[in-house]
């Protein structure tokens, strides 16, 4: 219902602004268009609320860091922007307010982002997390971190810490990003503890605390002693794990405050530096042809991964820290999915000596050897 109301409000807003946007769509002179250059504002759209303690909050914080880094730029943000044509309307209204750089931060915002990019050749439109198929228009691109890399490192901490050899993974839906995470977690753990298993339980919801509670209780009952998750709200699983005296690997945020004893490490977002660099590139007029003008994926190989490791908890010993640092160095030239990678049936899916590229990894649709459980069938 909220979506309908937002939609209606946006429609009104868009009608009010459409007279303005029509004027800015075409470049003033017939000469070359430099997208993003001379922008006085930056727009950010988010699919959820800016205080969800997860994905959207992290993106919002990134936008606020852009505001700090560029005091002369007006930063315009919009929350709860649905993943449909309304997103294009909101972006257009931001462009009408002077934004020539727009960030569409949700996976499903891509279609709208490309539409806006086509209508406004003078505006840089970047989308967070999705992939443009084929070649990108000169003023558009996608970007994302390699989420699974810090998850792989956290897997090392989990593999070292477990006493039962059983790790638990509470996830929402079997989307490729999540499958990558579960696989990378197990691969990291196996790299230091070859017999370790990861038990995967899904909740069919990004946030259903009651289902999470039941999932955590059952994993703990099975003897799992390290639990991690891919959920939008994470407190329920962490508290249940801590109460049972088991260990936690975090996701999205540093939650060591609610797991002072069992917190190992985790992964969290830090979008500020990457957002700022994209803005800097666009303002400087060098966006077209830059690394951001395409499907940009950043990991330890390329520098500042926006997905970083959370601080360590008290149970992570020095040897584990050294192993993780060493693995981080390996990732600078390798990948958690460097072959050989076998699936649950033992079949080699990534051959020995092969280091898959980001796009291949983002299309993995199987659990690796050592993951217990199967992907939900429909």
């Amino acid at each position: 219902m909220r979506k309908i109301i937002t939609g209606a409000a946006l429609a009104v807003l868009a009608t009010a602004c459409s007279a303005n946007t029509a004027g800015t769509a075409t470049p003033a002179s017939g000469g070359t268009v430099v997208p993003g250059k001379g922008s006085t504002a930056v727009g950010f759209i988010f699919v959820g609320p800016k205080d969800d303690y997860g994905y959207n909050q992290a993106a919002y914080q990134g936008s606020q860091e852009v505001a700090k880094a560029f005091p002369n730029l007006k930063v315009i943000t919009a929350e709860n922007v649905p993943e449909d044509d309304n997103a294009a309307r909101v972006m257009n209204s931001m462009i009408a307010k002077g934004a020539k750089i727009v960030f569409a931060t949700s996976y499903g915002h891509l279609d709208a982002a490309l539409k806006v990019a086509a209508e406004h050749p003078d505006v840089v439109v970047v989308q967070q997390g999705n992939l443009i198929t084929g070649s990108a228009p000169p003023n558009a691109g996608t970007f994302f971190g390699t989420v699974y890399e810090p998850v792989y490192l956290a897997g090392i901490a989990a593999g070292r810490a477990t006493k039962t050899g059983k790790l638990g993974y509470v996830y929402a839906f079997p989307i490729s990003q999540t499958i990558d995470n579960i696989d990378a977690f197990e691969l990291g753990a196996r790299s230091v503890n070859p017999s370790v298993k990861t038990y995967a339980v899904n909740t069919s919801s990004w946030c259903d605390p009651a289902k999470q509670a039941e999932a955590a209780a059952n994993l703990l009952k099975q003897g799992v002693d390290v639990i991690t998750q891919h959920q939008d709200c994470t407190a329920t699983v962490i508290k249940a794990t801590e109460a049972a005296g088991a260990m936690t690997v975090g996701y999205h945020a540093d939650a060591s405050a609610i797991a002072p004893k069992g917190w190992l490490t985790g992964s969290q977002w830090n979008w500020g530096p990457l957002y700022s660099d994209i803005v800097r590139t666009a303002l400087g007029g060098t966006f077209t042809g830059s690394k951001y003008n395409g499907n940009f994926r950043v990991g330890y190989k390329t520098g500042d991964n926006p997905f970083v490791q959370s601080p360590y908890g008290p149970l992570v010993d020095d040897k584990t820290r050294r192993l993780i640092e060493a693995a981080k160095d390996t990732l600078k030239s390798g990948s958690p999915f460097a072959g050989p990678v076998r699936d649950q049936e033992g079949k080699v899916r990534i051959p020995d000596g092969t280091t898959p590229d980001y796009e291949t990894i983002e299309k993995i649709d199987y659990f690796v050897e050592g993951v217990v459980g199967s992907l939900p069938k429909s």
Partner: protein, 300 residues
Amino acid sequence: MLIVDVLTGGVRGGTAIMFAALGETLAERAGVVNLGTEGCMLVGALGGYAVAAETGNPWLGLLAGALAGALLGLVHAVAVVWRRADQFATGLTLMFLGLGLTSLFGAAYVGKAAPGFDPVPLPVLGDIPVIGEILFRHDPVTYLTFVAAPLLWFALNRTKAGLLVRTAGERADVLHVHGYSPGLIRTVAVTAGAALAGLGGAQLSTAYAHAWFEGMTAGRGFIAVALVIFAAWRPLWVVAGSYLFGAALAVAPALQARGQSLNQFALDALPFVITLVILAVLGRRTLRAAPEELRRVFAR
């Protein structure tokens, strides 16, 4: 053992539903249906969590949850009993009111830490094999239902207050003759019932999930209303029904934690399928067990 885990999960997850269903039993025995039970659970879940977070005392949270539920229930009672509003329409409106209010005021408590209830195994009883694990290693709020259900049964069937409630549900006119106000009795029953629903919501947020999130009751209030019907308005059958539903919810995670291959979507639908099947099988037979005054509401 799988069956033990599923039954343990049934008690763990069925408790919130049981509170709400016991409350709804009380209301319906007095002749009023409260479809807003879901809303009462939601305000209870938020109220309980918020007060626990602010005061640091989960017991105060529990009390606040019950109060929040009661307040929403009172609105229902006033509209339905005193203003003669349609029970179903009012109840549904109340559900949406609860959903709206809690998503508005609950935003500040999403992700916020609050003290809650952790499992406390009961001495001796908790050590009994199988039974101890299923029943006696839970949080203190779960133990409250062990008392609340028999108490409600006793109150309804063996006390004068219970007789008055039942009479309000069966032959309201008789109350008039004897100088009682059926309206007042119904108001008290609906409000107290909603307080129990609020308590169930608070159990969900402070003892089961240890978190607040908008819409976190996820239909448990409606299941509670359906459950009262197939439990034929008897508190002790409500207990069995709640655990059955809780167990149905626990099957999927229990199987998955063992790495069992299964059809996730079918399992997620299981609790609702069970409810539908039972309601359909019992059919009109349940209506015969219905309080007389309630039958007028249902069999229109």
